[in-house]
Amino acid sequence: MRKMLSTIMMCMLMVSISSLAIADDPEEDCYWYFDEGNPENECELYCNNSTFENMSMAFNSSEECEECRLEFLDNQTEGNETEDPVDNETEKEIEKMKYSFGAEIRLLQLEKTIVKNLLKGEMAVSVLQGLGYNTTDLEAILAEMHLVLEEVQAADPQENNSVEVFIDLKNDSKNLTTQFRTTIRELLDGVKYKEIKEQIRNATSDELQNYSRRVRNLIKQFNVNQIYRLYGIIGNQTSTFVNDYLNGTVNLTQVKLQLMKIINMKTKEKRNQIFSEMKKEKIQNKNYAYGKAGDAKGNFSERHLERLRNRLDKANNSGNEKLIEKIQNRIKNYENSSKDKGNGSNNGNNGNGKGKGKK
């Protein structure tokens, strides 16, 4: 009797242990993460939640995260400007360039962002000059940014290579912005840096507001086209609310609600069909963006070098010594790194995937 009971007890114990193991949720993970868009933020701990789903990099410890964050900051210098020119965000932006107004919107948005950064950069420089700092390097970066702005303004959205131009110039302006930030960071201590940052945070101008208006109007045109396209899928006649949206009587949220209402009035099968059509279109857009991004990456280095040489010509004409020197150095660095890569000695650090738990 005793033997039997002890065997049963042993069995029960084993069942209990294995049940506990099953009951334990393996998904209950926490990761350290830093925001690549704003790497100056400290590493933060995220546990299994919706925010975590959107992360691109995750680390098992705060030390790993901090190490990668610092490396990431270090790599945000000139030498890093030839790295992958199409990030996820840019690829998403390209998706909309498939439609009419899409390319125009993206190029105008880029122009507006450069104008905004130039405004803030120039304000920061004038504050620094007032405080007696040497701002030659910063001014040279702004001068090159002006050249990029001219290139964006000269780009034709109707041309076949408009996506390529958008990728190239967005990449250039992003690199120049990072260079400016790094340079100013080296000039100032933490307190002064924060003070100036606060001073220029809400800087705006009539020019910038004009850009915002133009972008908004173009986006409205784009959205109206999308409404017509959706009506085509739903199979309804267009109603007057398209005009109401254009006039500003109804906003985009109301338009979306109206469309939702129309779709909800359909049968389940029709709803399913509409959903499938929308999904199909989305996949086609993703494929379009993926293809264009791949094409742009193809000869990115050659195009970059060509742009730098063109800018050097313009800098020579302007006689800006610091800018000439800066571009010449970059061309030289660029050619050297290309040579290194050609020799198979890739010394560059990609700086964006050291994390063990890269998602």
């Binding site: 002890s6 868009g37 220029i200 929308m278």
Partner: protein, 75 residues
């Protein structure tokens, strides 16, 4: 003999405690499992899209009027 009976009682009480522990754990597991399976089924079937699915697709079709390109901050 009495000692034997006393021993059996002890074993029996331990056995009862074990039964309670095991049944609680098993109950916890069985209650937890169907929920996650149900979730997975909902996701996998996708026979009819929910309002949220359709709403998300509609959102993706349009561009927010305040949409901006991010190239980072100057400072």
């Amino acid at each position: 003999m009495e000692e034997m009976i006393d021993m059996d009682k002890k074993i029996l009480s331990i056995f009862i405690i074990l039964v309670i522990v095991v049944s609680t754990t098993v109950l916890y597991v069985t209650l937890k499992e169907p929920i996650s399976k149900e979730d997975q089924q909902d996701f996998a079937l996708g026979e009819y899209p929910t309002n949220e699915d359709i709403s998300n697709e509609i959102d993706d079709t349009f561009l927010p009027e305040n949409d901006e390109i991010d190239i980072g901050d100057m400072i």
